[in-house]
């Protein structure tokens, strides 16, 4: 396949590690934004030109590269949080686990019953690795904003997988996925605002009222 596409995918994988390894939220947001831009460019490289494709690429660039990072940065500024302190899983441990997951994704992708033309591509392992790293961020971090970033990583992983099917995927589906993402981030932004206003903290580990208490 296109060597350029492979390089973008490797970039995506490396950006995962930045998100996993940094405690600075702004850096993590920027990493996700760059990842979004890289992924937005991917379909332009692997598929022949069409207006429909150009629309999608442009939309992706604007939403993933600009709007969402801008919204999250705004939330960070409002909440006055710069760093993720005391995560559930430490940064070094997260990095090592992320590396293990990436390796596992490569092994797993080899055993998947894929269509013959998709065998041996970097798409599937990159997708699975990004997906699992997203999950890892969701599990490992305390702050609501880190959770949003984890969610974004997860979506990016799904998007890479979707690229394999991009030929068969009508524009509506992609637009729908994008809208879904935007609304999701939007809702989470509102939630974050409310959490910080009500509890003057963004530490989601303190929100444990979901648990039902053992009756006496």
């Amino acid at each position: 396949m296109n060597p350029m596409a492979d390089q973008l995918l490797v970039l995506t994988l490396l950006l995962n590690f930045i998100v996993l390894g940094t405690s600075r939220l702004n850096l993590a947001v920027r990493a996700v934004a760059v990842q979004g831009i890289a992924l937005a460019l991917l379909p332009a490289i692997i598929h022949p030109f069409s207006w429909h494709l150009a629309g999608i690429v442009l939309g992706m660039l604007i939403v993933k590269g600009a709007v969402i990072p801008w919204m999250i940065t705004g939330a960070i500024r409002k909440a006055e949080i710069k760093r993720e302190v005391e995560p559930f899983i430490g940064f070094i441990t997260s990095l090592i686990t992320g590396a293990l997951f990436t390796a596992a994704a490569f092994i797993f992708a080899q055993n998947l019953p894929l269509a013959p033309e998709h065998k041996g591509l970097l798409f599937v392992p990159a997708s699975l690795a990004t997906f699992m790293c997203g999950f890892l961020v969701l599990i490992a971090r305390r702050k609501a904003i880190s959770q949003i970033i984890g969610y974004l990583l997860l979506e990016n992983g799904i998007f890479v997988f979707g690229l394999l099917l991009a030929d068969a995927m009508p524009g509506m589906v992609e637009a729908g996925a994008l809208l879904d993402l935007l609304v999701g981030i939007f809702v989470m932004g509102i939630v974050v605002n409310h959490i910080s206003r009500e509890f003057s903290t963004l530490d989601t580990s303190k929100l444990t009222t979901l648990r039902e208490d053992v009756r006496p």
Partner: protein, 662 residues
């Protein structure tokens, strides 16, 4: 085009169902004033006017209209149909819904309840429409969808006053109980699908199964539908739920929604070509047990609506006993028995859906006037609430199974069924005669129960300031009560008007009954006996009135017992009235009695308290849940409440699945 569609009676019924479902929607948007409620009432009236004549015509012509529904769900073909059995059960839905909607204008007005009224009105319509859909659905999946909508809208209705912790508890118990029943129905329809290869209902008599499979289905149907109907061991949710809902909601829940369980059982029986004899025996036994236990528990209650709720268990028991008799008749090929049982059961379905809403509405008027459900603080209401008292009296006589009202007709059919077999043959069905005394005893206890209800609430002297200051209900509440009381009298005096409808409906679950070619009891006799009784009563009243007017008279307080200075507290209370019966049945009707012993010649002040117990819940279920709760306490550790941990569960599951499927 429109008039062409509306020319079809079945289409009119479907339109009416749609109208009912949407009746509460405008109210959700018109937030101020009573416009939403009035619109809903108007919609219910139009729906009833559309549906009822069509339903009756279709029943009399014994028409079946089947329509296939276009849907994209993966449950195969879907049909809705109105056959005589469905049409028969549609009648109470539309009648009670209309009466309840009118009643709500006085009982639950938008002016006093604000947005809560809009919610109640919306779910009220949704509940009625879902019940109608349950009755006409011919696909298991559609049936379950409608069943679930029905169960959930009933839940939202009964937690209307959710500020009260008691209401929330009742709602929770109901929700759990109804879903346990629904779980059984899921298995039931899945098994049915496995046997027939489709979710479409099998044709009448079209299910030929080996004994084990048929018995499994029967047990599941009995459990699932019995839980909804409130048959005795499965009744635990019923009293609290019906007592805590607003009265016009209780009227529908008790008068109609319980019948959906009965409908389910009847529909299942219609599938089976030859039900075994023991099914009938079991149904009769369970029915009689429910009937007696229900009324015995009702008679010891102090809460007026709880009494009515327990009496619903009794009435459902009577209906089930009737179905049992019919199944025995069907199994032995005895047309007379099948006819009497099914006629009794089906007539009682309609009758109970007339007098139970009437009584709940009467109770609602009383609560509206006095602000309490406690029977022992009422009294003397008949003086201020003449019309309510009169209509409630009609309901009380009807539910006790006395002529000239309708309860007598259906119970008489069952007596005929029980007794008729004693002389007829030497088969197993002659044991049926044992049921007659049980039914008679139930009737007797029902009389105790309802004399208590009516006497303590309406007669005597007021026991509290609220009872003394009671006021008559507004016309919007009296009107539906009058209509229902009139219908009770009509159905009692002219059962020949209802019998053809019941005959049409019974041809579906008990085809043997058609062999009789008409009622074994000449319905004219009911008219004759009823009118005779009314005439006799009138004659006695005239005679007594004449005697009294010629004698000197003195006025004193009611139930003053000849004391010089009687007080309202010296009267019989509801508790003391039923005390003797409660002592006799101590084994089954438990109550905790709190009293201090009185000693010496000048005793200190003493107190006496009486709290009836919910035996099954308090003695059996609560301990059982506590034990299972402590046994499974370790599971709670999984429930940490932290989002991160839940995310980890997702992830672990996902990775496990990935490795598994590899």
């Amino acid at each position: 085009m429109f008039s062409q569609i509306m020319g079809d009676p079945a289409a009119r019924v479907f339109a009416a169902i749609l109208l009912v479902a949407l009746s509460g929607v405008p109210g959700l948007f018109i937030r101020t004033g009573a416009t939403g409620q009035r619109l809903a009432t108007a919609a219910s009236a139009v729906a009833a006017a559309l549906a009822l004549p069509s339903v009756v015509t279709m029943l009399l012509a014994r028409q079946t209209a089947t329509y296939s529904v276009f849907w994209n769900l993966p449950f195969g073909a879907c049909e809705v149909a109105i056959d005589p059995l469905s049409a028969y059960f549609l009648i109470p839905i539309f009648v009670v819904f209309l009466c309840g909607s009118v009643y709500a204008n006085g009982y639950f007005p938008a002016a006093r309840h604000g947005y809560a009224e809009a919610r109640v009105t919306f779910f009220y319509g949704l509940l009625a429409a879902a019940m109608a859909l349950v009755v006409i659905a011919r696909n298991g999946a559609l049936f379950l969808i409608a069943w679930e909508v029905m169960a959930l809208s009933a839940y939202f209705l009964l937690v209307t006053e959710h500020e009260e912790p008691e209401v929330r508890t009742a709602g929770l118990v109901y929700l759990v109980a109804t879903h346990i029943g629904t779980a059984a129905l899921f298995v039931y329809f899945s098994l049915l699908n496995a046997h027939t290869g489709s979710f479409l209902f099998p044709a009448a008599g079209g299910l030929h199964l080996p004994a084990v499979a048929a018995t499994t289905l029967f047990a599941l149907a009995l459990f699932g539908f019995g839980a909804k109907a409130g048959l005795m061991p499965l009744h635990i949710w019923l009293p609290a739920a019906h007592a805590n809902a607003p009265s016009h909601v209780s009227a529908v829940l008790s008068g109609v929604m319980l019948k959906m369980g009965v409908y389910g059982i009847l529909r299942f029986l219609s599938f089976v070509d030859a039900p075994p004899l023991w099914w009938g025996g079991l149904l009769t036994g369970m029915g009689l047990f429910s009937a007696f236990m229900g009324i015995a528990l009702a008679s010891s209650r102090r809460d007026i609506k709880r009494m009515l709720a327990y009496s619903s268990i009794e009435n459902i028991g009577i209906i089930t006993a009737g179905i049992g008799i019919a199944v025995i008749g069907q199994a032995t090929g005895n047309a007379r028995l099948a006819y009497l049982g099914m006629a009794g059961a089906l007539l009682h379905v309609i009758n109970h859906s007339l007098f139970k809403p009437l009584l709940f509405m009467g109770a609602g008027s009383v609560i509206h006037a006095t602000g309490t459900r406690e029977l022992d603080t009422m009294g003397g209401l008949a003086k201020n609430m003449r019309w309510t008292a009169l209509f409630t009296l009609a309901g009380v006589v009807a539910i006790s199974g006395l002529p000239p009202f309708n309860g007598f007709v259906s119970e008489f059919m069952l007596y005929m069924g029980f007794f008729g077999e004693a002389a007829s043959s030497s088969t197993a069905s002659s044991y049926l005669v044992v049921g007659a005394p049980v039914l008679a005893m139930t009737g007797g206890v029902a009389l105790i129960c309802f004399v208590k209800l009516y006497g303590v609430a309406f007669l005597g002297a007021p026991r509290s300031a609220q009872a003394a200051g009671s006021h008559e209900a507004p016309a919007a509440m009296l009107l539906p009560m009058a209509a229902l009381a009139g219908a009770c009298l009509f159905a009692g005096l002219l059962p020949q008007a209802l019998l053809p409808l019941a005959e049409a409906a019974m041809s579906v679950p008990a085809p043997v009954s058609a062999g009789l070619g008409g009622s074994p009891v000449e319905p004219g006799w009911f008219t004759f006996a009823g009118l005779g009784l009314l005439g006799l009563a009138a004659a006695v009243a005239v005679l007594l009135g004449r005697r009294l007017s010629s004698l000197p008279s003195s006025a004193s307080r009611t139930w003053g017992c000849g004391y010089l200075a009687p007080s309202a507290r010296m009267q019989y209370t509801g508790t003391s009235f039923s005390e003797m019966f409660t002592t006799l049945t101590k084994g089954v009707v438990r109550a905790s009695v709190i009293h201090t012993e009185i000693k010496g010649f000048a005793p200190k002040p003493s107190a006496f308290g009486y709290v009836p117990e919910e035996t099954v819940i308090e003695r059996f279920l609560v301990p059982m849940f506590n034990v299972s709760g402590s046994c499974f306490a370790f599971v709670r550790r999984v429930q940490s409440g932290r989002i991160h941990i839940y995310m980890m569960y997702f992830f672990v599951t996902l990775v496990t699945l990935m490795i598994w499927t590899r």
